[in-house]
Assembly symmetry: C2
Homo-oligomer: 466 residues x 2
């Protein structure tokens, strides 16, 4: 595909649509839009457009579609697979100014909002009226709902409440040709033709630009119990997770953290220091939520009894809100802490929950074989293990040549275990070279047919996923 | 599209693949495969094939694809939109012999099964090990899981637990060209390219044939409270539903039944007689489920207090298992009872929950305008109202000419209320003429592009949805 280089004529048109206030052309101002939270990649866009209305999105897209100008939609740029990187140049379409919660419908337990709304802001707004929007990516303080839709984002609570996918009722989208449409209806059930809502969710901005989101809300669970459980063996920690669910207990979070994850966090931010006994190799951070504290305590006791078989060192309850906040902050900061420590690659592996021990052992075996150090953590209840491979002492040649081979073998192991190569981060650009591990030529044909149907000129987030 | 008429040569080929035991050619034996539970429609297939393996499905499809022979996949034929009717003739591919539960994975809370497994059989099999598969269409005693996937089927429990869509992790499918592929992975999270699993769910057998299904299971809730609540006004009943959810209570079922629905059931089966006071116009059938009876009773009291504002006549608790069974049987038999009473058309309207009173009033206003009688019931908690329009005293001309106009106006009302024309029954053939109420030409273009991607020769369930 030969894309068009953006000229002053194009800029003049864009300016006529969105006004000068919503175009960024200066290098230093464009610079932040060339990266996201994925490793240290950077691609400079020709210009950044920050539309404020659906109509503007439509006009910009239709123009770019005719003129073959690549458009990379962008939320907060907190993605971890390079999905928001303008790898073909062209326009970055940043939706951050479309950031209104249009409506919270307390009768129907729904909210309607724009894609630039920050996840945490939505959480707080609905909590204020006793409602709950569960999906909570680690970056919830800055990530935007449009990006959450694009990646089918999860978070710790997904284990009990499901991912973004489970809370989207309807989307307003704009196609590359400028057509504006609703993908569904504002209903809890929908069996009216091919489900376009679910096709857009997780499509990483390659099919359409999301301009409005209708989410389902549920009643807020005001009470919770949080416990930190250290183990002398990471395998034991993972096995304990399976036992919890097998006992019929569904925690509202069940996070796994290797020893090194918490050490790196404490180095990164001494305020987030969590005491580690010398023999601790891994932790589970387990939360139970509900309406009745006495019931939660009963359930916690049952849980503790259940995991005794896996020899936890201790069970440390967070007694105060401050302790809870510290533990959650430490958990949420692991990604940043790892990034601060070393160049790294983060793999978003996911397998059926009971296969976690085998996955983890596989990671360490690959580390031994290829000489890399890994820091693993993630959503153990979902079998979703974030594997951070550190550059650390590896040579550039090892990093460039050997690590991709190791990653491929890691993904092959995921497939063997009936898992996949991304649970919640998406494919973007960094996992794209590995898609053939999961996908057959038939899959790629179908993906190409779907892409062609929505975006025949391949202007929307080109070079991603396929 | 010019389809090929099936000849003895084709039959010889099919026989070589599936053996004589799995081909039905005799008229009287084929006859049942020409209908489903939709009104009184009948279309005769040229032959019925009952494959026993994925490989057979693949070979039959690939052959039909090359020879342009229409193939209509079929489960139990309990559908209500004509999705399983072979309206273009050709082959009916009945999956009922692929009826094995391959595996119940208690470690991962998953089951793997073939499409011919009956919903209720799956429920019972997983209940035996303390697990729960929630989706429960009214026809659960006979409907098959492949059909449930095809229609994204719901049922009473969807209000708390979600529909079939929420429980499908992965599918094995066969494309018209014979290619066999998995749509996803056996994981709780999945962000690995376009979500083919969710695209197949609800696609009514028009894109691929489902040959294996991996479902998510949850722990079984052993306790429940069931109450029948009569109202003097259907509007009050609907308004009470909104109040229940607004109070933070999520019942495991919240069904609405008009007076006439229960009268028809009692006429149809006197054993299912439910006492009706003369002033009862509608009922809610409300179930709460959980692990602790004392908590459920507390919640029931809170619920009863909440609905007092809407003047229920009474709150009748089902005290015994026999009473519960009677009430559920009565509810599940309404469809059959209506069918027994009169020719009818069933519309599967769905709106945001709080819009139910307006929808119901709209139905009655249309009835007054066009002279039809309607019996309404359905999943009030989901805003999913089954509107049964009875032929009763209408002339054939009214039935043929006026009722489709009334249905169109009903669907336009659904759209106005942010709802849609099918919540759980699908579009099939009977709702197809009304799809333009919901869909723009852009939607139809996308649907056509998706269809073309999977089924370029249009052999798979042709004439359905679009």
């Amino acid at each position: 595909m030969n894309y068009t280089t953006i000229t002053t004529e194009h800029i003049t048109y864009f300016t006529s649509i969105v006004s000068e206030l919503n175009i960024i052309l200066k290098e230093e101002q464009k610079h932040p839009y060339g990266k996201d939270h994925t490793e240290d990649l950077h691609y400079m866009p020709a210009c950044v457009i920050t539309p404020t209305t659906t109509q503007q999105v439509s006009l910009v897209l239709a123009y770019c579609n005719i003129h073959l100008i690549p458009v990379t939609p962008r939320g907060a740029g907190t993605g971890l697979s390079g999905g928001a990187l303008p790898i073909m140049g062209g326009v970055v379409l940043s939706l951050h100014k479309m950031n209104k919660i249009i409506n919270i419908d307390e009768d129907n337990l729904q909210a309607t909002l724009q894609p630039g709304v920050i996840n945490y802001d939505l959480q707080q707004a609905v909590k204020a009226v006793g409602l709950f929007y569960p999906p909570d990516p680690a970056s919830w303080g800055s990530c935007m709902m449009g990006g959450n839709v694009a990646h089918a984002s999860g978070g710790p609570r997904a284990v009990k409440y499901g991912t973004t996918r489970d809370y989207i009722l309807n989307l307003e989208i704009v196609l590359p040709n400028g057509d504006i449409l609703n993908t569904g209806a504002n209903t809890l059930k929908y069996s009216t033709g091919y489900n376009l809502t679910h096709l857009i969710i997780g499509s990483e901005g390659t099919l359409a630009v999301v301009t409005k989101i209708v989410v389902k809300l549920i009643p807020y669970n005001p009470k919770n119990v949080l416990m930190l459980v250290p183990f002398t063996s990471a395998t034991d920690a993972c096995k304990a997770v399976t036992s919890i669910f097998k006992a019929g207990i569904i925690p509202s979070a069940c996070e796994f953290m290797e020893r090194d994850a918490l050490i790196l966090v404490a180095q990164y931010d001494p305020l987030l220091h969590v005491v580690l006994t010398p023999d601790t190799q891994a932790h589970l951070l387990i939360e139970l939520d509900g309406h009745h504290m006495d019931l939660l305590q009963q359930q916690a006791e049952q849980l503790v009894k259940t995991i005794q078989a896996h020899s936890p060192i201790d069970v440390l309850y967070a007694d105060t809100e401050a302790q809870k906040e510290l533990l959650w902050k430490a958990r949420r900061k692991i990604g940043e802490a790892v990034k601060h420590q070393s160049a790294y690659k983060e793999e978003d592996t996911v397998v059926p929950r009971a296969a976690m021990p085998e996955l983890l052992q596989g990671v360490k075996a690959l580390g031994a074989k290829y000489g890399f150090k890994s820091v693993c953590y993630g959503h153990a209840g979902d079998g979703n293990l974030h594997v951070n491979i550190l550059k650390d002492n590896l040579t550039d040649s090892q990093w460039t040549n050997d690590i991709p081979i190791a990653i491929r073998q890691l993904f092959e192991l995921c497939k063997q275990l009936n898992g996949t190569i991304s649970g919640e981060h998406g494919i973007g650009v960094v996992q794209k070279p590995y898609m053939d591990v999961m996908m057959t030529p038939t899959h790629f044909n179908i993906f190409a047919g779907i892409k062609r149907t929505f975006d025949p000129n391949n202007i929307l987030n080109p070079g991603k996923i396929i």
